[in-house]
Amino acid sequence: MSVAETRRRPILRMIAGRLGIGVFTLFVISVLIFLAVSLLPGDIAQQVLGQSATPETVAAFRRELGLDQPLAWRYLDWVGGVLSGDFGRSLANGRPVAELLAARLGNTMFLAAYAAVIAVPLAVGLGLLAALWRGSWFDRIANVATLSAISFPEFFIAYILMFWLSVRMGWFPSIADPGASPRLAEMLGRAFLPAITLVLVVTAHMMRMTRAAVVNVLGAPYVTMARLKGVSRWRVVTRHALPNALAPIVNVVALNVAWLITGVVIVEVVFVYPGLGQLMVDSVTNRDIPVVQACALIFAAVYILLNLLADVLAIATNPRLLHPR
């Protein structure tokens, strides 16, 4: 092993360790999802086929679903399928779950990315300015405004925006189906209202954490030292304080981006946006078990992956770990 590799080993080992924990967490969650779904009351075959089905057809359908097999066997069968990319078939329409998910996942990711690209720089920027001018009018107004935004229920914000920007002004469509439009600009226009709603919901949290983390570091002697070297206040905040405050900020950003992907059911329903959240809600109503399981697993994986990423970034911004003695 070369010198450089030996020096970098602690961080690689740490990342490998986190990855291992992530995989284990995902395994535990898959068991929980599977158990929870199989504990749902009522017989799935009966529910799907309806009250009029004969006992023979129900039994045949149960066999077809594998419901007559022991629980552990069914779990292994499901996990084995997932690992090879086969999520099974939808009970509602018989199409492969993977195919159903693919389109919806794309839409959800598009909306989440859209909101994140606006919200993260906005929140971090506002947080830095609030830290720079702490105690000023700007600080207070930014605080009150973002707090109010987070305090309203998101459907309320959604309907207000829809009323003004869509119904009254007619600038944006109220039904936000991006469709398969080839033009990005058109897609952005159609998804604008749900994206802005999400931005308003997540900005406050990230902004307040940025402000708090930076203000915390601004008390450090090396910040005073930087000012005594003649460094301007803005440069002190962005170049000296921010790099040392990144770990908590990265964590809260990851948490909020994860929420943008997994927690947007209500906004999707309000704007009739064809995302993963709406698919999951529909599938729960339809008792479409394979789809519900697949959605839950994807949500869990997104959470774990983003938190893992945050952990690794937090480690990578710590020079003590990145450059051992």
Partner: protein
């Protein structure tokens, strides 16, 4: 005159409005002159030093006077124009380099930041200048030294790197704010030599702030003594040392003269604490190797050595916080179980500790009464009137009036008073042995002397034994009966104070003593000439 501070007034924000902390102080620094500022903490030395950069710390404000630097009154300038002076014309060297370097930046990038924002030199030019300064300050591998992060460099090297950084824009004045206070004497001498050399070769003027008289005597052409935000005395160094005019200045000089009167130690069959071939450490690293020494009954044994020598680890092994890997520790001839959890209440009671930072060792939410009552109840089962009587007795022993102090919180006490409470807490357990871990090193000299006198008095009254961990030889001379010299986890020398120190018996003791700054203003010059730094 390069810097002319006239009638400077600075105020601090308090609960009841603004209170003055500098009451109209004057300070003149000529081109190339080094002025020493000394005084106890709270004297306003740092505030005055920072004023030379037109800077007031958070919660402070300038309330009057002028800070004229090279013809410009900095206090009249807007913040943006003051910045043009900071780092470029007036630079600053902080006390703790470890805290004052940005942990996320390489040292070289921090060096080059000043020249870049002040446009005094291009990147390549300042990098070359940095390497030149690193070499001049005897930093290891000067070519690549700057590529390291602050945590990859030792304390003494970091402090020298900070001196180098202050010189990056070739300033006319450098403010050194206690630059060696946090260092061991053996490390300090190297930094002092680096500062001396930097000042002499560039001809920059300097303000040197410290509470160590011997240090300031080496560095300064002129000394100003401050107290409570006012000037006490201002005179050229030699005159100040030889003939101080003010009582307060004389009292500062006298602290070092404290010597405990000689006394007879009681006879005992076994030492209070016997340490035999103790090896201990953390994870795979041995910090102590086969350490053996005794603490005789009623005696004060000073354990000296630089940081990392294993002084505090020995204390942790004795208290049972760090069970030794090998060796035995005995109390009055009876072996102590290695782990704290295995020790009886009686054994725990017998060994108590007093800490360096009284601030953090006392619970800020508990009154002095609560702090002292806890050991009284836990170890001795005292309650009600008996406890009250003992509380009063303890407070009188540490010379704090019970009625005034018992119901106060630690935050309402001065540093010296807090340390006295720390002593009372150890005494409350009625111990046979107390470990004093650098108990005076965070205190001003006058206050520290009071604590040493108190500890001596308590020993005379109770016959308790002390292990006195310190890196300050003056403290050792003042109160120790015996001395143990440690280095790298081993005992270098041990014995009666006179045997070990006068004259130094072991080569390392000799080095340690030679590194302690003397009041003689020519001491550092001589040491540099002898090749010590």
């Amino acid at each position: 005159m390069l810097l002319n501070i006239e009638k400077l007034k600075v105020e601090a924000r308090g609960d009841e409005g603004w209170t003055p902390i500098l009451h109209g102080v004057d300070l003149q620094v000529a081109k190339g002159e080094v002025v020493g500022l000394i005084g106890e903490s709270g004297a306003g030395k740092s505030t005055l030093g920072l004023a030379a950069l037109g800077f007031a710390q958070g919660g402070l404000r300038f309330a009057g006077g002028r800070v004229i630097f090279d013809g410009t009154d900095l206090l009249q300038l807007p913040e943006r124009r003051r910045r043009a002076f900071r780092g470029r014309r007036v630079a600053y060297v902080a006390q703790s380099a470890a805290a004052s370097f940005n942990p996320a930046w390489r040292l070289l990038d921090q060096f080059c930041e000043g020249p870049a924002i002040h446009h005094t030199a291009g990147r390549a030019e300042s990098e070359a200048f940095a390497r030149q300064l690193y070499a001049a300050m005897h930093l290891p591998d000067p070519e690549n030294f700057g590529l390291r992060f602050p945590h990859q460099v030792s304390g003494g090297q970091l402090q020298r790197a900070m001196v180098a950084m202050a010189m990056a824009c070739k300033p006319d004045l450098i403010v050194f704010d206690e630059p060696t206070t946090a260092l061991d004497v053996t490390t300090q001498i190297g930094v002092l030599a680096a500062i001396r050399q930097a000042v002499e070769t560039t001809g920059t003027a300097a303000i040197y702030i410290t509470h160590d008289l011997a240090v300031v005597a080496q560095m300064a052409d002129r000394i100003k003594v401050m107290r409570h935000g006012r000037e006490v005395e201002d005179a050229p160094t030699r005159r100040m040392i030889e003939a101080p005019a003010q009582d307060y200045t004389r009292s500062l000089w006298a602290v070092r003269a404290f010597r405990r009167p000689p006394r007879a130690l009681p006879q005992a069959s076994a030492p209070t604490i016997g340490i035999r071939e103790v090896t201990a450490g953390y994870s795979s690293l041995d910090v102590l190797s086969e350490v053996s020494f005794d603490i005789p009954r009623g005696a004060t044994v000073a354990v000296v050595g630089e940081s990392g020598s294993g002084k505090s680890t020995t204390a942790r092994a004795i208290t049972g916080l760090l069970p030794p890997r090998a060796g035995r520790i005995a109390l009055n001839g009876t072996p102590l179980p290695p782990r704290l959890a295995q020790r009886t209440l009686e054994q725990k009671r017998a060994v108590q500790m007093i800490y360096q930072m009284a601030d953090t060792a006392l619970n800020p939410r508990q009154t002095i009464r609560q702090i002292l009552s806890r050991p009284l109840q836990f170890y001795l089962g005292l309650t009600g009137r008996a406890r009250e009587a003992r509380l009063n007795q303890l407070m009188e022993q540490i010379e704090l009036e019970p009625a005034r102090f018992l119901d106060r919180l630690p935050g309402e006490l001065s540093g010296g008073q807090k340390q006295r409470v720390g002593i009372a807490r150890a005494l409350a357990a009625d111990p046979e042995f107390i470990i004093c871990d650098e108990v005076t090193s965070a205190l001003d000299q006058l206050v520290a002397e009071g604590i040493l006198r108190l500890l001596s008095k308590v020993q005379d009254e109770t016959g308790v034994s002390y292990m006195f961990i310190t890196h300050d030889i003056a403290t050792v001379r003042a109160i120790a009966d015996e001395v143990v010299v440690m280095k790298g986890g081993r005992v270098m020398d041990k014995g009666l104070k006179a045997e070990v120190l006068d004259p130094p018996r072991h080569a390392y003791t000799r080095e340690l003593l030679a590194s302690v700054p003397q009041m003689d203003p020519d001491w550092l010059t001589r040491r540099i000439a002898e090749g010590a730094a």
